[in-house]
C-alpha cells in the first residue's frame, strides 16, 4: 500500500461555525511534495471547501504563509518529508484575525507598509529629469539596502514576533525593514519623514530584539537587523538634535 500522511487543518467558516475546528485529512506521501501540494490535493480530490491563498509555488509571491506545526512557514517551501511520518498541523499565520480557514486579514499589514512611505522621496527641485538617464549607484551602495529589498511580504515575521502578538498596532518587522530599505538607498532623500513613523512609540522601541523575525524569514532579509539599525540612527538623531538644535535640517 502506498504511504500516506495525515494533515490536521484549521477550519473556520464564519457563517457556519462559531469557533474554529480541526479537520484531519489523509493524503498520499510523496518525497517531492511540499505542504502546499498536500493541501492542493485535499482541495482537488477530497474537500473542495477548504480555502487558502497560494499562487507561484516557488517561494516568491509570498501568498502561502501558514503555521506548520506551530512554526511560520511558506507552505510551498515546507517539504512533507521533513515531517513524515508524523502528523502535520496547519493553521493560519499567528497574530492575524482569521477570515476563513487558512485565510487571514491582511489589510492592516498593507496599511503598515504604506505608512513608512515605501517609495523614493526626492527633495523639491532635486528630481533628476528622465532625459538625464538613471542615477548612478555603485555596487557598494546597492548592497547597503539590497537585502532589505528582498522582502516578499509573506508576513511570517509578524507571526513570529512576540511584540506583534501582544500589540497588533506594532509597525512590525517587514514594514520597518521596508522603511530602512528606502532609507539606505543612495537615491532616496526621505529618511526624515520616514523616521517620524518608524521611531514613533508604536514602532521600534517596542522591539525587544528577540530576533524571531529574522529566524523565520525565508529570504534572509534580517528585519531584526533593520530594527536595530533604525534604533541606532534614531538615537543618533536624538542626540544630534540635543547637541546641535540648529542643525535640524539634516
Amino acid at each position: 500500500m502506498a504511504q500516506t500522511m495525515q494533515l490536521e487543518i484549521f477550519r473556520y467558516r464564519p457563517e457556519q461555525e462559531n469557533e474554529p475546528t480541526f479537520q484531519t485529512y489523509e493524503v498520499p506521501f510523496d518525497e517531492e511534495w511540499v505542504v502546499l501540494d498536500a493541501i492542493n490535493y485535499i482541495k482537488d480530490e477530497i474537500d473542495g471547501t477548504l480555502s487558502y491563498r497560494w499562487s507561484c509555488r516557488m517561494g516568491v509571491c509570498g501568498s502561502c504563509g501558514m503555521m506548520v506545526n506551530g512554526v511560520p512557514k511558506l507552505s510551498c517551501s515546507a517539504f512533507l518529508r521533513d515531517y513524515y511520518p508524523g502528523t502535520i498541523r496547519v493553521e493560519p499565520l499567528d497574530g492575524f484575525p482569521v477570515e476563513r480557514d487558512l485565510v487571514f486579514e491582511m489589510e492592516g499589514f498593507v496599511n503598515k507598509l504604506t505608512s513608512v512611505s515605501p517609495w523614493i522621496v526626492r527633495k523639491e527641485g532635486e528630481k533628476k529629469p528622465l532625459e538625464e538617464g538613471p542615477y548612478k549607484q555603485s555596487p557598494g551602495e546597492l548592497s547597503d539596502y539590497k537585502h532589505y529589498s528582498m522582502c516578499i511580504n509573506c508576513m511570517l515575521c509578524y507571526a513570529a514576533c512576540p511584540v506583534f502578538a501582544l500589540d497588533n498596532d506594532f509597525l512590525g518587522p517587514a514594514a520597518i525593514a521596508l522603511g530602512q530599505r528606502y532609507n539606505m538607498d543612495s537615491r532616496d532623500q526621505g529618511r526624515d519623514q520616514r523616521q517620524e513613523v518608524i521611531a514613533a512609540h508604536k514602532g521600534i522601541w517596542k522591539c525587544t530584539f528577540v530576533g524571531e523575525c529574522s529566524a523565520v524569514c525565508p529570504k534572509d532579509v534580517d528585519p531584526a537587523g533593520a530594527i536595530q539599525r533604525a534604533k541606532v540612527s534614531s538615537t543618533a538623531d536624538y542626540f544630534l538634535e540635543l547637541l546641535m538644535p540648529w542643525n535640524k535640517s539634516r
Binding site: 467558516r13 464564519p14 457563517e15 457556519q16 517531492e32 482541495k43 482537488d44 480530490e45 474537500d47 473542495g48 471547501t49 477548504l50 480555502s51 491563498r53 499562487s55 507561484c56 509555488r57 516557488m58 517561494g59 516568491v60 509571491c61 509570498g62 501568498s63 517551501s77 477570515e99 476563513r100 480557514d101 485565510v103 491582511m106 498593507v110 507598509l113 504604506t114 512611505s117 515605501p118 517609495w119 523614493i120 528630481k127 533628476k128 528622465l130 538617464g133 538613471p134 542615477y135 548612478k136 549607484q137 555603485s138 555596487p139 551602495e141 546597492l142 548592497s143 539596502y145 539590497k146 529589498s149 528582498m150 516578499i152 511580504n153 521596508l178 528606502y182 538607498d185 537615491r187 532616496d188
Partner: protein, 612 residues
C-alpha cells in the same frame, strides 16, 4: 448601488500598476479603481527572473532591438508597434530606476546589462535573477503614494459591463464577503496577465487563468494570435519552476545524455568552448530563441538523446563552469530553486530541465495605445496582443512591454474616460444585478451536479498538452477541439460543495475554469486554422512558413454558442523589414565582428563584470 470611478483597472501586476501610476501622474483629478483578485504584490510579474530589455549601451541601437524582436517574432510582430516599443523602452526603464528598482550595477555605478536569447547585444537590465519581483515591488510601493488610486484587493472581476456600445465598468466578486458589486467607470483597462494554466506543465502561478482575455472575448472583442504559446526551454521537471534564461546568458550550456551540446545539430550554430572569451555567442546555440530551443528538445528526445526521469525526459543545464562565486552573484535564485525543488546544487551538478509552458504571445486584440474594438476597453501586458511578440517572444521583452504599454494604455484610457464621463448607470446596475443572479444560480446555490472542478481542469490540461503542445497536427488539434467541446458541456454539471460567501475559492476555481474553457477553445480553433509553421506554432503537417497566406494575425471571435469560434485575420504591419528566412547561429557568427567592439573603445560602456 454601485461603485463609481473614472477608470477601472483590472489586475494589479506590472501592467496594471504602471497604468495606474501613469493616470495618477498625468491626470491627478481622475479616480482609479485597481481591482485585483490577489494583493498586487502576489501578481505573477513577481516570478519573472532574467531581466527587461532596453537599449542603453552606446554600441547598441534601436534598430538592433527592432531587428532582433521582429526576427524573433518570425515576422508576425507589427513593425510599427515594435518601433514604438524599442524607442520608448529606455525611458520607461529609466523611470523605473528613478522609482527605486534595484538594478544590478557596473563598478562605475551605471546600470548593468546581460545577454539574452535572440538578442544581438547585451541589452537586458536585471536585478540579479529576481527582476520581475523587484520591478513589481518597486511599482507597487511607488503606487501606494497616489491618493486617487483605490485598491480593491481580492476582488475577482467576473464580467465586463457594456452599454450603448461602450465598456463602462465591470462586475466583481468581493472575496471577503461574497458580494457581487458593480464597479462603474468611463474606461476599463484589462491587465490580468496570461493563461498558462490552460496547460498542465507551466511556470505560471495558479492565478494565471486568463480571466481578462475571457471576459473581453465574451464581450465580443477578438482574441488575436491565440495559437502562439511559448514553451520556455528550461523548466524544472515535475514542478515546472522556471530556471531563467539568464543562466544561459551568463554562460550555462545545454547538454544531452552524452554531455554533448546538442543544439548545434538543430541549426543554431556551432558551439565555442565555454572557456572561450567569446562564449556565449549571442543569437546562437544556448542563446537562440525560446521556440527553437524547445523544438530542438523534442527532436533530440525523438532521436534518443534526452535523459529519462521520474517526470519525463530532461536534458541538462550545466552552469558548473561559472563557479560558485559567479553563480551566487548573478543567478542566486537559480541556485536556491534548484537546491530546494530539484535537490541539485548547480555549483556541483547539472540541473535537469525540460520545456515548460511560459507565456501567451496572443491575447486581446489591441492597437498601439492599448485600445480595443470595444470603445472604453483597453488592455496591456500579457493579456494583450499589440503585437510586438508575434509568433515568438524574445526573453526580457515582456517586462519592458508591460511598462511601455501599461503607461500608454493608462494615458489613452484617461483621455477616453475624461471625454466619456456620462454613464448609463441604471442599465449598468441592471446588468450587475443579472450577473449577481447568474453567479448565485449557476454556482453558489447550484445543487446537484457530478463533475468535479479539478477533474475537468485536469482533462482540459491533458488535451491541451496532447493537441496544442510544441508540435501540432490537424488530427490532434481536432481531437483537442472536440474534447474541449465535451468539457464545455460537462461544465454545466459541475458540483459545488462550498456554500459559504466568505472567501469561497471553490467558486473562484469554477469561474476560472469557465474562463479557461473559452480560451482553450479559441486557441484550438486558431491553431487548427493556421495551416503553416511559424515561430512557436509548429504544424508537422504544414512544416513551412507560408507568408502568402499567413502573414497575418488570427482573430478569434466568440460564436453563436459556447463552443463556436469564428476565425478571421488581419494583416501584419510591415514598415521596413519584409520577411526573410529566420536564421540563428550562422548569420550571427557572420554578424559578430561589429558587436565585438573591444573594451574601452569609444563605443560606450565597457563590457565589465557587474558586481551584483
Amino acid at each position: 448601488m454601485s461603485l463609481k470611478h473614472d477608470i477601472v483597472i483590472v489586475g494589479g501586476g506590472g501592467a496594471g500598476l504602471r497604468a495606474a501610476i501613469a493616470i495618477a501622474e498625468t491626470n491627478p483629478s481622475l479616480s482609479i479603481a485597481l481591482v485585483s483578485k490577489v494583493y498586487p504584490m502576489r501578481s505573477h510579474t513577481v516570478a519573472a527572473e532574467g531581466g527587461a530589455a532596453a537599449v542603453i549601451r552606446d554600441d547598441d541601437s534601436f534598430d538592433n532591438h527592432f531587428r532582433d524582436t521582429v526576427g524573433g517574432s518570425d515576422w508576425l510582430a507589427d513593425q510599427d508597434a515594435v518601433e514604438l516599443f524599442v524607442n520608448a523602452a529606455p525611458r520607461e526603464m529609466t523611470q523605473l530606476e528613478h522609482w527605486g528598482c534595484p538594478w544590478s550595477r557596473n563598478p562605475d555605478g551605471t546600470v548593468a546589462t546581460r545577454p539574452f536569447g535572440g538578442m544581438k547585444i547585451e541589452r537586458t537590465w536585471f536585478a540579479a535573477d529576481k527582476t520581475g519581483f523587484h520591478m513589481l515591488h518597486a511599482l507597487y510601493q511607488t503606487s501606494l503614494q497616489y491618493k486617487p488610486v483605490t485598491a480593491y484587493n481580492e476582488w475577482f472581476a467576473t464580467r465586463l459591463l457594456v452599454e450603448n456600445g461602450r465598456c463602462q465598468g465591470v462586475t466583481a466578486l468581493e472575496l471577503r464577503t461574497g458580494k457581487v458589486e458593480t464597479v462603474l467607470a468611463g474606461a476599463v483597462i484589462m491587465c490580468t496577465g496570461g493563461a498558462g494554466k490552460l496547460f498542465p506543465f507551466t511556470t505560471n502561478g495558479s492565478i494565471k487563468t486568463g480571466d481578462g482575455m475571457a471576459m473581453s472575448y465574451r464581450a465580443g472583442v477578438a482574441l488575436k494570435d491565440m495559437e502562439f504559446i511559448q514553451y520556455h526551454p528550461t523548466g524544472l521537471p515535475g514542478t515546472g519552476i522556471l530556471i531563467t534564461e539568464a543562466a544561459r546568458g551568463e554562460g550555462g550550456v545545454l547538454v544531452n545524455n552524452k554531455g554533448y551540446r546538442y543544439l548545434q545539430d538543430y541549426e543554431l550554430g556551432t558551439p565555442l568552448e565555454v572557456s572561450d572569451p567569446n562564449h556565449p555567442v549571442k543569437k546562437a546555440m544556448e542563446l537562440g530563441p525560446r521556440d527553437r530551443l524547445s523544438q530542438a528538445f523534442i527532436k533530440e528526445r525523438d532521436r534518443g538523446g534526452t535523459i529519462p526521469g521520474p517526470h519525463g525526459h530532461v536534458v541538462h543545464l550545466d552552469v558548473r563552469h561559472l563557479g560558485e562565486k559567479k553563480i551566487d552573484k548573478k543567478i542566486p535564485f537559480v541556485r536556491e530553486l534548484a537546491k530546494n525543488y530539484a535537490g541539485i546544487d548547480p555549483v556541483h551538478a547539472p540541473i535537469p530541465v525540460r520545456p515548460v509552458v511560459h507565456y501567451c504571445m496572443g491575447g486581446i486584440d489591441t492597437l498601439n495605445d492599448g485600445s480595443t474594438s470595444l470603445p472604453g476597453l483597453y488592455a496591456a501586458g500579457e493579456v494583450a496582443c499589440v503585437s510586438i511578440n508575434g509568433a515568438n517572444r524574445l526573453g526580457s521583452n515582456s517586462l519592458t512591454e508591460l511598462l511601455v504599454f501599461g503607461a500608454l494604455a493608462g494615458e489613452a484610457a484617461a483621455e477616453f474616460a475624461t471625454a466619456h464621463g456620462e454613464l448609463d448607470v441604471s442599465a449598468l446596475e441592471r446588468q450587475g444585478a443579472d450577473e449577481q443572479a447568474r453567479i448565485a444560480r449557476d454556482f453558489i446555490n447550484k445543487h446537484g451536479g457530478t463533475e468535479r472542478i479539478a477533474a475537468l481542469r485536469r482533462e482540459m490540461n491533458e488535451t491541451m498538452e496532447n493537441g496544442a503542445g510544441i508540435y501540432r497536427t490537424h488530427a490532434k488539434l481536432q481531437a483537442t477541439r472536440d474534447k474541449l467541446g465535451e468539457l464545455r458541456e460537462r461544465f454545466a454539471n459541475i458540483v459545488i460543495e462550498d456554500r459559504s460567501l466568505t472567501f469561497n475559492t471553490e467558486l473562484t476555481s469554477a469561474l476560472e475554469l469557465d474562463f479557461m474553457l473559452d480560451l482553450a477553445l479559441a486557441l484550438a480553433h486558431s491553431a487548427l486554422a493556421r495551416t503553416e509553421s511559424r515561430g512557436s506554432h509548429q504544424r508537422t503537417d504544414y512544416p513551412e512558413r507560408d507568408d502568402e497566406r499567413f502573414l497575418s494575425h488570427s482573430l478569434a471571435y466568440r460564436g453563436h454558442d459556447d463552443t463556436a469560434v469564428r476565425i478571421d485575420y488581419k494583416d501584419v504591419v510591415i514598415t521596413k523589414w519584409p520577411p526573410e528566412k529566420r536564421v540563428y547561429g550562422q548569420q550571427s557568427s557572420a554578424e559578430k565582428s561589429p558587436e565585438q567592439t573591444p573594451p574601452g573603445s569609444p563605443a560606450g560602456n565597457p563590457p565589465v563584470d557587474p558586481q551584483s
